[in-house]
Symmetry: C2
Subunit: 268 residues, 2 copies
């Protein structure tokens, strides 16, 4: 199965070319996070889909996004700029605006992973998890999509045990291993991984905090992912004066690390 | 002791205002990395010093840099752009060029740490190290600055044991705990931390690789650092097809995490 326009991810991240380096995007209501704003990973992915049209390298390698304002559903513009096109990598930026107000600004570098030929040495193991059908689906356990988070209808997770906050009993656990995939079976690719690293509920919800606003998110893609369920490892180790990082690793069905991200966020 | 123009860091990262959002910088020969190019952390710091002039928030919170070309010594331009100034944070970008060719592009968000009032919960310990005077100074052990790396004269490190590659015998260790400070006793501040997270030799040199070129570096500042020696934890866990990340944590003399960075780099 390959990605097609019939998948929600492809439909909703596609923008229309309006002119040189100028695109129109309809921010979809299908990717809202807890709290009801457009999910940050979804907005990054839409920016990257526009930028990719202007670079010869096919694969996202690294993207860094700074979040300026919450994103809402409706018409938006994406303005792109190419910084450099080299033999091995190409880099540029994309700025997404609503009503001329900046929502996010993204820098990204692309490459061609099929030409990557260097050394491999991995000093870690993929998360060890029971099979997906022996895990819990948090959405099914809850029986409803919480807090307007429609993204829960597009991306599904499986956890060995339901974190306490899903039952209204925050347990103080700030690391979670889980499975993830698109609910419509759309296979992941590098740009889709940039969405998926921001698609889960923040693990610090299990501290009983009321929310978390992303300030910056960087994702590095380490390989093109193989099809199938993805293994994820999510961790927050430092909450300092209200600011916290969240690290997110994604491993594919062949056991290879495919994405690694960190975001800095603020508890409101 | 406070930072002054007499410190190398301040002298060499200061730029001259040439016009609206336009600065002139002399890229100094005192911050060259292994290989002889201007150190990436030094170039980020120079960009951030320019950007800071245009934002009301005093403290760097998060900076993301994409590296486009190696930086060489000599006259450069920095072009800044403000993305948003809010109550709590301000964000903008800086592009450093030499002869109209982009060297690095940086997005950054600033805040005022003195107004940060949220929760603190730290699930990790600072690196445990013998006192600096009971550790080894790699530069002194070597008796010379290797590979044109003049940055070794500006930033000093102390390690419990000299990694094998310093003796020409790579030992395969890709994690290092060490002490760091400016050699002229200049106290660290948030922008100086953005330099320090890129000032050490890449830990993967102990794999016997010939070099490492940064593609992207993001640093989050977690608190204003207290004066004194800084504890560092450096680790690479994933070398995949020639690409590798390097994680760098800095803890201050009060035992607080003050900076956390990750870079993605390529072994040539």
């Amino acid at each position: 199965m390959t990605a097609t326009a019939s998948h929600a991810f492809d439909t909703d991240t596609a923008s229309t070319r309006l002119g040189d380096h100028e695109y129109g995007l309809e921010v979809s209501d299908r990717w809202k996070s807890f709290g009801g704003h457009a999910n940050g990973g979804y907005l990054i992915a839409a920016c990257l889909q526009a930028l990719r049209r202007e670079l010869p390298q096919p694969d996202l390698l690294s993207a860094s996004a700074h979040y300026l304002r919450p994103g809402s559903v409706g018409p938006a513009r994406i303005r792109t700029e190419i910084a450099r096109i080299g033999r091995r990598t190409g880099a540029g930026q994309a700025v997404l605006t609503r009503d001329d107000r900046e929502i996010i600004r993204v820098l990204a570098t692309f490459t061609d992973f099929s030409a990557a030929r260097g050394r491999t040495l991995v000093r870690n193991e993929p998360p060890s998890l029971p099979a997906p059908d022996r895990c819990v689906d948090p959405m099914a356990a809850l029986g409803a999509t919480p807090g307007g988070a429609t993204i829960g209808e597009q991306v599904e997770f499986r956890v060995p045990e339901l974190p306490g906050f899903w039952r209204g009993e925050p347990g103080g656990t700030t690391t979670v291993d889980c499975w993830a995939r698109f609910t419509d079976d759309r296979p992941a690719d590098p740009i889709a991984l940039a969405l998926l690293v921001d698609a889960a509920a923040p693990v610090i919800f299990d501290l009983g905090v009321p929310g978390s606003s992303t300030i910056e998110l960087t994702v590095h893609i380490r390989r093109r992912p193989a099809p199938g369920w993805l293994r994820c490892r999510i961790a927050t180790n430092y909450v300092i004066d209200g600011f916290h990082e969240e690290d997110f690793e994604i491993w594919d069905s062949t056991g290879s690390l495919v994405a690694q991200s960190r975001q800095l966020a603020l508890i409101p």
